[in-house]
Symmetry: C3
Subunit: 128 residues, 3 copies
């Protein structure tokens, strides 16, 4: 459940799920089942990075663009564009039971709609 536009880190949720799968070597795939929210790997040390990313995407995909599609409001089409500019799928190798994320990398759900939404993320692992 998101609380409006912004980045929501869920790296620890992924790690908890992965621990329950007892996979030592393999590939974890994260898949976001939406077209108005997406995934990002970004710095998890300084919150101003997340602020600047959110502000930047709102500048390059503004609500007042010349869009035809606006059934769900002025944040509708910008949400699709921000999803297109980022991605809905992310795969991360697993080595000795852990994701190979870098020291500063966190996995984020990037919510593009203004109002809160319930979002579904699929976690999938291949390995042994």
């Amino acid at each position: 459940m998101t609380r409006g536009q912004g980045l929501y880190e869920f790296t620890s949720d992924i790690n908890d799920w992965l621990a329950s799968q007892k996979v030592q070597t393999g590939l974890l795939t994260v898949f976001c089942r939406h077209t108005s929210a997406s995934l990002l790997v970004q710095e998890n040390a300084d919150p101003t990075v997340q602020h600047d990313i959110k502000a930047y995407f709102s500048r390059i995909a503004p609500e007042d663009g010349p869009y035809i599609h606006n059934y769900e409001g002025s944040d509708d089409m910008p949400a699709h564009l921000k999803t297109a500019l980022t991605q809905v799928q992310l795969s991360i190798p697993i080595v000795t039971g852990s994701l190979v994320l870098g020291t500063w990398q966190g996995v984020y759900l990037f919510e593009h709609r203004v109002r809160p939404h319930r979002r579904e993320i699929v976690l999938h692992v291949i390995g042994e």
Copy 2:
């Protein structure tokens, strides 16, 4: 075979191929073997979304940019940029024989060249 710039949905082609593979659990990877066409997961309900996406990318990667590379015409370099802004690879988990795509998600080939092109997409599955 594409018919100029735009989004071409091929979700049903993927599903047909997947059905022939008889994989119940696994990971499907879609790979686009080009640098001037790419892949997108986007809303498949309202065609105006596809129109707005195409128009948006032509605004942020315009044909009249200060490019050096233009051997194949004014749509050459914008095609590379649009490919860089989206992606050429997409992996989707398979659960109980079906892709975990969301209700509104379709898989599209995003053609960035003006003239028709023959495009090669590789489908690959891991699972059982």
Copy 3:
């Protein structure tokens, strides 16, 4: 080790590593463990494409933007934005021992920081 902003092709390094793994059919995943450098699949024939891509991303994510986060200098936040606009993960199917890359496709590390950096890329393969 990168030598400032730009695209560094490492397709042959990947191919060399893959040859040592003796995998005939499978999936190779390339993962970049950073938030200020990313991965791109792009044309490897004409170097002007790489020049234009680098220049384009510096135009759409300029150093003089209204950023809050700038601890590491004016190229800090643009580096995070360029990473968000591209990707840190890439998976490529392997068929008969080779990557299914298209004729003109090369795999690049896209360095977004001005000063040289040591970068870590994880290569991971599933298959047999």
